[in-house]
Symmetry: C2
């Protein structure tokens, strides 16, 4: 089958400082302490359904060696290097134009590199059902996570009518991260799902959508096209890619396409959502990592650290690089993180300020 | 002048874990972050009044190289190595017997290696006045620190009558670490001083006192005597020293001699105290180190660490090895200490349990 996996692995993970930092962001780290990095877990999760030659990773040049080390089966040609961060629309455009050149009939499953899934069997069932749903059409499918709480850290997908004979729904609208009251309302109404940033669509649909909504960006990829798979590719990309608008695929395509009757590549298009329930987290915060990690009797989550002793401490999340020893006494509700000779101790409920905290020290 | 400085530097400093540990105890550490170790500060404090050839250090064989590195001017022959810890009486006996062999008229000022003094000029004045007071007599002089608070962590010296024409007092009794109520009473009565463990006496008095009160110990040093300053010294000491009673000089001599009319070396003896007020701490606890360290506006004491950022944190003491960065947010009243890839975070008021804390991790 002509199905391809695209992994977006260019983020810098600043919210997990000091564990995650620009030179070693969280997708390349064994965040969960399970012996595999988040990138490796992502590939494992899609797993046997994708041939290594059909797995593509878009990342930054700084991380090329990390990707090669962590995914030795993925051909080097399939690792695309963005010269700068331009959000997800240019990222997806670049990889789509490149795949199209070799595999014009490809169906793409596009996924972030750093998310977490509990039930990988159900996950794979959803991905394959999604691929079957879009294949040969101009449909765009997103996976919508059944919300388990009124989370204000996620975007929501508002679904409309079901698609007869399938588990998919038409998407009515994308909703940005809501305030708590709104999130609560979304959960009550039942037709809202978390936007997990996983998109399934044919490469021809990606191309047509970007051509329609971001014609300047499409023109840049057209100019790069001849260089793909040649010795000139990186130089050409380095020159033209930075001219792309910095815009997410959600803004560039999804929101513009949802709830309308638009044709793409000569076929009726539309955005669809597959309400899914396989246990998911974007692992975007220490809090979400804490939620996904086994706790001890005092509700402490200790990750990747054998030499941590917690005494009269509760509700903490502790993550060390492994070659350090730690005794923590009398801490309640703290994040304690260590990496590369840098230590953070802060209240769990202050984690949205971690970037600010990190700047107080790295400037010195 | 025939005056000698004896520094007892054999302690293991377990109360300052993880900064201080058996392989690198606190006397060999720049505990105060001033660029010199406590041992070096001790020698500096006695300073110019003692010729390097008259400075003696008693320590353990494990620490020989540390002493040589930190005190390069002290002759290797003057560094005495105890094969095991036998408390202060055998320590002082060994060094006294050895000094006596070369300098039978020596007056000894004996001091721990790890204390802290604020006013070093006044300190030196006291030491020299003390040496003048005992020289050529059988007097034993202790320095008594004027108590500034009812501290229950120190022993107290109860003084009796003054010695006419001097600032010295007869010692009536030594009192062990009191409970709070008793300490309060001592402070009110005015004739109690903290026992700082600094003793000034002639070497002949030391010998006579040990011979009188610990004859078996004296006999062991008599057996070692011939070996001193020879190639056999260490082997002989290693064989005989462990047979010494494990007893402090306070128990062995001071308490037995105080308040009585006893002759030593053919002269009237007695224990005297010099009430002193030069700002002193035994730096025996993180709390005492905290008390001696400059604080920031939030009453945090940060020692030896340029890369520590304290945010919304108060009343903490932070001590790192220097090559580590730390962000601490939302901590109130904690000890945060890092050394050799080991980190301790604990409530300041739980520091008496640090040994227990350290054992939870080092056993792993």
């Amino acid at each position: 089958m002509n199905k391809h996996l695209v992994i977006m692995a260019g983020g810098v993970g600043s919210r997990f400082w000091p564990m995650s930092r620009p030179e070693n962001p969280k997708q390349f780290i064994d965040v969960l302490g399970v012996g595999k990095t988040l990138l490796q877990l992502t590939v494992d999760r899609f797993g046997k359904d994708f041939d290594p030659s059909h797995i593509w990773v878009v990342t930054s040049a700084d991380y090329l060696n990390k990707v090669k080390e962590q995914l030795p089966d993925v051909p080097t040609d399939n690792i695309l290097l963005e010269p700068c961060m331009r959000n997800t629309a240019p990222c997806i455009g670049y990889v789509a134009w490149k795949i199209k050149k070799k595999y014009p009939d490809a169906t793409l499953a596009i996924s972030p590199a750093d998310h977490f899934v509990v039930d990988t069997n159900e996950f794979r069932r959803c991905i394959n059902a999604g691929i079957d749903f879009v294949k040969g059409t101009s449909r765009v499918l997103t996976l919508g996570m059944k919300p388990t709480r009124p989370d204000t850290g996620y975007g929501y997908i508002q679904s409309g009518n079901p698609v007869n004979g399938t588990e998919m729904m038409h998407v009515q609208a994308f909703r940005e991260k809501p305030d708590y009251k709104t999130a609560l309302q979304y959960c009550r109404e039942g037709n809202y799902n978390w936007n997990a940033g996983i998109f399934i669509w044919d490469v021809a649909t990606v191309e047509a959508a970007i051509r329609m909504f971001e014609p300047e960006m499409a023109s840049l990829f057209d100019q790069m096209y001849d260089s793909f798979y040649s010795a000139d590719e990186q130089a050409t990309v380095n020159k033209l890619f930075p001219q792309c608008n910095k815009i997410s695929i959600d803004y560039a395509v999804m929101e513009r396409l949802a709830g309308k009757n638009i044709e793409l590549a000569g076929q009726p298009s539309g955005v669809f959502v597959m309400p899914s329930d396989f246990g998911w987290s974007d692992l975007g915060t220490w809090g979400s990592l804490y939620a996904q990690t086994p706790k001890d009797d005092n509700n402490n989550a200790v990750i990747g650290a054998e030499n941590v002793s917690l005494i009269e401490s509760t509700d903490c999340i502790v993550r060390t690089s492994g070659d350090i020893k730690m005794v923590l006494q009398g801490l309640d509700g703290y994040i304690v993180a260590e990496d590369n000779k840098t230590i953070l101790v802060c209240k769990k409920n202050q984690e949205q300020r971690i970037k600010e905290f990190s700047e107080t020290i790295t400037k010195q």
